[in-house]
């Protein structure tokens, strides 16, 4: 076994060979799928718990409070206590609700985010599946979650849920455009849609530096649009506590509610890691072309640390937005997208195409 923290390719190859040599190929594939599924399940739970804790701590410090500080040192076990509480809560059956869809909705939301994790490159060779249209796949599946939200709103026989779900639908359909177009800027720069190819293209500098002004505009637009797409504040109209009690998950309780909650935080992680991969170089260390000494020092930091560091940075940015700005009205939300973000994005795409054509980006 040759485990290398800088390159997981040999490790995954070794696992694959070990399985294939001891059993039939079909069984080996099935066992590999199960292993990857379990790893992702564990990863999902841990990231969800950590993000809920991080969000509560960050929001507390921004509001000059302590945040959770009772369960364990600095309250680090608070989310675990919350999880146990949620698991023990009663699952309430709603009268006149469409039971099948009502129970299906949380799973659709959570499966959509699971599908998105599969294509994320965590480190060199640590990627479950490397599609040649990876980024297209990512924003296709990450917007599937809204179907679950719409189903939840429709099936729970409550006006709050329905209004929340319809708002969420309008929001995701609008902002999907901006997410796609802002990522398209980087696809034009990199010349490929394959995530590993996009990361390789950033070996001599991240796109946010190499692509200077248009990449920065695309990054800001992506941050705004992806925050809206994950239904987070200041775009959390779908749950709008003050107007709709809890929006689309008003009628959910116990573990079904926990699924929505977990999926929301997981979606935040996913869009943050997409932003890190596309704009900030993914697991690629910070390199400047020509500065070989500094590049060599940067290479000592394992890629997985780079990936999670950048993702945490983007997550902190999104939390910073959420706890600074008040919630938008639905008309302001649609105005922002259709009157400002979309025209800016289209102009930006033209600019990027022109820059790439003339070769005016930093090579």
């Amino acid at each position: 076994m040759d485990f290398n923290i800088y390159d997981f390719t040999s490790f995954t190859k070794w696992v694959d060979n070990a399985l294939n040599s001891s059993m039939s190929p079909l069984l080996a594939i099935i066992i590999e799928l199960i292993i990857i599924g379990l790893v992702f399940l564990l990863f999902y739970a841990i990231v969800g718990l950590l993000l809920v804790y991080a969000e509560r701590k960050v929001c507390a410090v921004i509001q000059n409070r302590y945040g959770p500080n009772r369960v364990g040192p600095f309250g680090i076990f608070q989310t675990i206590a919350d999880l146990i509480k949620l698991l023990m809560k009663e699952l309430i059956n709603i009268k006149h609700a469409d039971n099948f869809l009502f129970n299906l909705a949380p799973f659709i939301v959570i499966i959509a985010s699971f599908m998105a994790i599969a294509a994320l490159p965590f480190a060199k060779g640590l990627q479950a599946i490397d599609f040649n249209i990876g980024i297209f796949y990512l924003f296709a599946v990450s917007s599937l979650g809204v179907i679950g939200i719409l189903l939840a709103g429709w099936s729970s026989n409550s006006k709050y849920s329905l209004i929340g779900a319809i708002r969420s639908g309008a929001q995701v359909i609008s902002y999907e455009l901006s997410v796609g177009l802002s990522l398209l800027a980087i696809v034009v720069f990199a010349g490929t849609m394959q995530l590993s190819g996009i990361i390789e293209s950033q070996a001599d500098g991240w796109w946010i530096i190499k692509g200077h002004f248009p990449a920065l505009v695309a990054f800001v637009i992506f941050l705004i649009a992806s925050t809206a797409e994950t239904n987070r504040g200041p775009f959390d109209l779908a749950e709008a506590e003050s107007e709709l009690t809890a929006g689309f998950h008003t009628e959910y309780s116990g573990i079904k509610f926990a699924f929505f909650f977990l999926a929301e935080y997981m979606n935040m992680f996913i869009v943050a890691s997409i932003a890190a991969t596309m704009f900030l170089g993914g697991w690629m260390p910070f390199h400047i072309a020509g500065w070989d000494g500094m590049n060599a020092i940067m290479d000592y930091v394992p890629p997985i640390v780079w990936f999670f560091g950048k993702t945490i940075f983007v997550i902190l940015m999104m939390m910073w937005f959420k706890w600074t700005f008040p919630r938008l009205r639905i008309d302001q939300l649609l105005n922002l997208e259709w009157k400002y973000l979309l025209p800016l994005n289209l102009m930006n795409i033209v600019l990027v195409a022109f820059i790439v054509l003339m070769g005016w980006y930093i090579k």
Partner: protein, 164 residues
């Protein structure tokens, strides 16, 4: 729509959003500015503010004397009957029969802290106390007698003719 106005709006929006984010960002990197306190740990040092409405008390001076004449205006003004005044009659040195307070009964359990009793008290005999830990196991403990046992009415300072 004027194109300059359009971009001007965008830059104005970014500027104002950045102003807000700077404030929250400043608090985020300065955790020393936290204003909330860890309550049960700081019981010893916790000092409530002057305007805090903990409970209604009757002020007594060092001679165990208060200013309550037993007029009953607080009882009349209380919207939810939290105050009961029980008066007594005594004969003073001059041989006149006068009304004094026997028990100023205050039901903390019914009080809404509206401050009408304190505002209308003609002799400023009652005020706000700073006590805030009111949890008890028996609600009868929330019925309090405000005048201390053995207390008496403070003599009004006699009007001096040369004062004005």
């Amino acid at each position: 729509m004027n194109i300059f106005k359009y971009f001007g709006e965008i830059f104005g929006a970014i500027k104002s959003l950045w102003a807000g984010m700077r404030v929250t960002g400043y608090y985020f990197i300065h955790p020393g500015q936290i204003v909330t306190q860890k309550y049960p740990e700081n019981r010893k040092t916790l000092k409530m503010t002057e305007r805090f409405k903990g409970e209604v008390i009757m002020m007594h001076d060092e001679n165990n004397q208060h200013a309550c004449t037993g007029c009953g205006i607080c009882e009349l003004n209380c919207p939810n009957g939290s105050i009961e005044i029980i008066t007594d009659k005594i004969t003073n040195e001059a041989g006149k029969s006068i009304k004094i307070i026997d028990k100023h009964i205050y039901h903390l359990s019914m009080c809404t802290f509206c401050e009408l009793c304190i505002k209308t008290c003609p002799s400023d005999a009652i005020g706000w106390g700073q006590e805030y830990e009111h949890a008890v196991f028996d609600r009868h403990k929330l019925t309090k007698v405000l005048n201390h046992p053995g207390s008496s009415l403070r003599k009004k300072p006699s009007k001096e003719p040369n004062q004005e």
